[in-house]
């Protein structure tokens, strides 16, 4: 049997990094082929090359035996290759049908009828139920992903690439996805499944290619290998699954949230009565698929959104609906989810960014006049302390890399010895080194006696860092307790809203 896709000797570099170094990859029809590796191993780059988003510096690609040159996604689509990206390529204000219509190149004038019919047909065939007239902003992450898969299948593609598809799904939705994939496989399609999660390989893949630092470490069949072997191939050393962390010493309650209710941007109730307490010396992690009210919760606590009822108490003081500045002055640090959009001023330099929370306080400002010298020395100090890589403090923040931007934000927020640290998806999209640094810093703050509220989509991160976890679903807390008190199954059920566990305070 001939491979659907064969990539030979692929090499791709970006300034400073070799993303793919002489990589070979092969996909057979009727196969689910996992592409396994840590963040930054080069998996996504390789598939982006196959899909025409990048062009390789050298190497050859063969589709169904013929050598091809893929210069754009349009070329890839013509060759029968479809891709579902990590960031959904969907337009929120359009309906599902309009989004699908946008994606295909047929010369139809009025796409409505035909597109809707096909969406329903594909939905039934593969178990991907979705309402063509629904607006995308109304859909859950799982439903959005279904739309993406339908888009990829719309043109009867033979190859389907999925990039980290399960990161936004609940355990139940993951199972649904896997059964869809198996159906596709049975029709002879080839599926590439990019992941960094070992379990998934054993759940659904036939073969796995392991990549590390831009190179292929090995290709194995599922029944020929083990979790340990794959882990070793992935990382190159014995890995520790847990972060080094000693037991926390809990002190008094710093943050208390009582029956908090709030609306989201569309006027719908996003928080339906949330209550919990966070002690000093404790990392309180909130698990849950994004879009279940976590963002609104953080915004209410930090003063960026109005609560319609309920209370937020910091150090016993009622800070409900107070301004972000007052909350900050009480010793609250906020590491925002949207690093670049909210966390920094891209056009201003490091020094100016670092005093965003304190510019109106002495010694930086007296009677409205800024003290430029102390601002500069503060910046120099923090730049060294937090290891921010930049030519000088005069560099504009927009030129920093993602990891350094996060360091900048940490430096700004944590340097005033906060009593309450609120971190929203702090390691999202960062490489291994930056991720480790941030996790260490959070544990450090906890050890210094701060109360840390952590929200993350990465369940592993929550479980390994938190002293207490809570699961949020549709604006409610499904359960609170110590991580070891719950089984993975119970957590999964809570995340999907099917189970409520007793609340332990």
């Amino acid at each position: 049997m001939e491979p659907l896709v064969r990539m030979v000797g692929i090499r791709k570099t970006f300034p400073g990094i070799v993303a793919n170094d002489n990589v070979d990859f092969e996909l057979m029809p009727g196969e689910i082929h996992a592409l396994l590796g840590e963040n930054g191993a080069g998996k996504t780059t390789l598939m982006n090359i196959l899909y025409g988003i990048y062009r390789p510096d050298s190497g050859r690609i063969y589709v169904k035996g013929k050598e091809v040159s893929i210069n754009s996604p349009a070329d890839a689509i013509k060759l029968g290759i479809g891709m579902v990206h990590q960031n959904f390529l969907l337009i929120d204000s359009f309906t599902v049908a309009e989004n699908v219509a946008l994606g295909f190149a047929k010369k139809q004038i009025r796409p409505d009828i035909e597109v809707k019919r096909r969406i329903i047909e594909l939905g039934e065939r593969y178990g991907l139920k979705v309402d063509p007239d629904a607006y995308v902003w109304q859909l859950s992450a799982g439903e959005k992903q279904r739309v993406e898969i339908i888009k990829a299948l719309y043109r009867e593609s033979d190859v389907l690439i999925l990039d980290e598809p399960t990161s936004v799904l609940t355990p139940i939705e993951v199972n649904e996805l896997f059964s869809t994939l198996k159906k596709l496989k049975s029709e002879g399609k080839g599926i590439v499944f990019i992941t960094h999660k070992l379990e998934e390989v054993f759940q659904v893949a036939d073969r796995v290619t392991v990549m590390r630092k831009g190179r292929v470490v090995g290709v194995k069949r599922r029944d020929e290998t083990s979790k340990e072997e794959l882990a070793r191939m992935m990382v190159g050393r014995e890995i520790l699954f847990r972060v080094e962390k000693k037991e926390g010493e809990k002190g008094p309650v710093i943050l208390e949230v009582v029956d908090l209710k709030a609306l989201n941007d569309k006027g719908v109730l996003a928080l339906k009565g949330v209550s919990f307490k966070v002690h000093s010396g404790e990392i309180f992690g909130i698990a849950g698929v994004a879009g279940n009210g976590q963002r609104e919760l953080i915004e209410v606590i930090t003063g960026l959104r109005k609560a319609i009822s309920g209370k937020v108490l910091i150090n016993g003081i009622d800070m409900t609906n107070r301004s972000p500045r007052e909350i900050g002055l009480l010793g609250t640090a906020h590491i925002p989810e949207e690093r670049v959009k909210m966390g920094i001023m891209p056009g201003m330099d490091l020094a100016e960014n670092l005093i965003l929370k304190k510019y109106f306080l002495p010694p930086f400002c007296r009677k409205g006049i800024l003290d430029l010298k102390s601002i500069r020395s503060n910046a120099e100090k923090l730049k060294t302390e937090y290891d921010i890589v930049a030519p000088s403090i005069r560099v504009k923040a927009k030129f920093l890399s993602g990891g350094n931007i996060q360091r900048l934000i940490l430096a700004r927020e944590l340097s005033s010895d906060p009593k309450l640290v609120i971190a929203a998806h702090p390691t999202y999209g960062l490489d291994v080194g930056a991720t480790e640094y941030i996790r260490r810093k959070l544990v450090e703050e906890r050890d210094k006696g701060a109360a840390v509220l952590l929200v993350s989509e990465d369940l592993e991160e929550i479980l390994s860092l938190s002293d207490t976890i809570a699961v949020m679903y549709q604006g409610e807390i499904m359960g609170i307790g110590r991580p070891d008190e719950f089984s993975m199954e119970e957590i999964g059920l809570m995340m999907a809203g099917s189970r409520r566990m007793k609340v332990i305070s």
Binding site: I53, Y54, R55, S72, P73, A74, I77, L89, L90, I91, D92, S93, F94, E98, A101, L102, G103, A105, Q108, I109, R110, P111, D112, W137, D265, K266, G267
Partner: protein, 306 residues
């Protein structure tokens, strides 16, 4: 021609509204594709002066109007080039074009101030033009009928066809559109050109129907800006633009008729502008988060390095 009071009011409303309608329709397409074109005023006035001069010299109305459209397109392509290809600030670019258009039209039109030009004759649609009440609607000039037809067609294209989806995608999320194979630049250029051409047409209407004279900058008197405000009022929909345009026609009609009551012309002259501001206030307060401007309006689209 003996017109009743009522007929003259309807006439005023329609004649005042039509140039606004053209410009608003054009700008709706430009903004729907993500380009903010503040040069409408400059394009309108260039269209006005071009139509006037060409009309006067050749006596050919069709040629006059077509030249005006071409001039509008040409100007808007400059805006497109500066803001799309050269990634320039769209606000400043549009303003620069307006300045340029106002200045150039002044220079070109200097010899023609005050002299009369040619104009369109009304087309009477048989039978329909005799209906009581709505009759005057069917005794209008050709460009009026065209504007209504155009509004409907443009609405249909924008909301019911595939090309309309692509245009809207460029304005909502150009990164996604680009990843899906849509040529964002081309669509933005095209929609900007449509905006410019229609603005030129709106301007041409002013000097060939509304008042076949060239009055320097007072010919447009800020109508281009009113059109931009009307785009917001119409929630970027060509059908609602009809409502907005004739609403303003109504204000001008009121303006003219209040003169008879001794209210000074200049005070009355403030009405359209103040009314526009009021309209903008209402539009903003009535806008829900979900149905606002195209999300990527005014933001240049830069594709990441391949």
């Amino acid at each position: 021609m003996n017109m009743t009071f009522y007929e003259s009011i309807i006439s005023t409303i329609l004649v005042s509204g039509t140039p606004l309608l053209y410009s608003t329709l054009g700008e709706i397409y430009a903004e729907r594709s993500g380009v903010m074109n503040l040069g409408v005023e400059g394009m309108m006035i260039m269209g006005a002066v071009t139509a006037f001069i060409v009309g006067k010299i050749t006596g050919n109305l069709l040629l006059a109007v077509l030249t005006a459209i071409l001039v509008g397109i040409a100007l808007s392509l400059i805006h497109a080039f500066v803001s799309i290809t050269m990634r320039g600030n769209q606000t400043v670019s549009g303003l620069a074009l307006t300045m340029f258009g106002l200045g150039l039209s002044s220079v070109i039109g200097i010899k023609y101030v005050g002299s009369p030009g040619i104009s369109f004759n009304p087309i009477r649609i048989p039978f329909l033009s005799q209906i009581p009440l709505l009759g005057p609607l069917f005794r209008m000039d050709a460009l009026f009928y065209l504007s209504i037809i155009l509004a409907v067609v443009m609405w249909y294209i924008l909301f019911r066809t595939k090309i309309g989806i692509r245009i809207r995608a460029c304005g909502e999320n150009p990164a996604v559109a680009d990843a899906l194979g849509v040529n964002v630049s081309l669509i933005r250029y095209a929609c900007t050109a449509i905006g410019g051409g229609l603005a030129g047409l709106g301007g041409a209407y002013l000097t060939t129907v509304s008042a076949p004279f060239w009055g320097d900058v007072m010919t447009t008197a800020g109508r281009g800006w009113i059109a931009i405000a009307l785009v917001i009022f119409s929630f970027w929909s060509p059908l609602r633009a009809i409502v907005g345009a004739y609403l303003f026609g109504g204000i001008e009609a009121i303006q003219f008729n209040l003169q008879a009551y001794g209210i000074p012309t200049d005070i009355l002259g403030m009405m359209p502008y103040i009314a526009t501001i009021v309209v903008m206030i209402f539009s903003m307060s009535g806008m829900k988060r979900r149905f606002g401007a195209p999300a990527a309006l005014g933001v240049p689209f830069v594709r990441e390095e391949r």
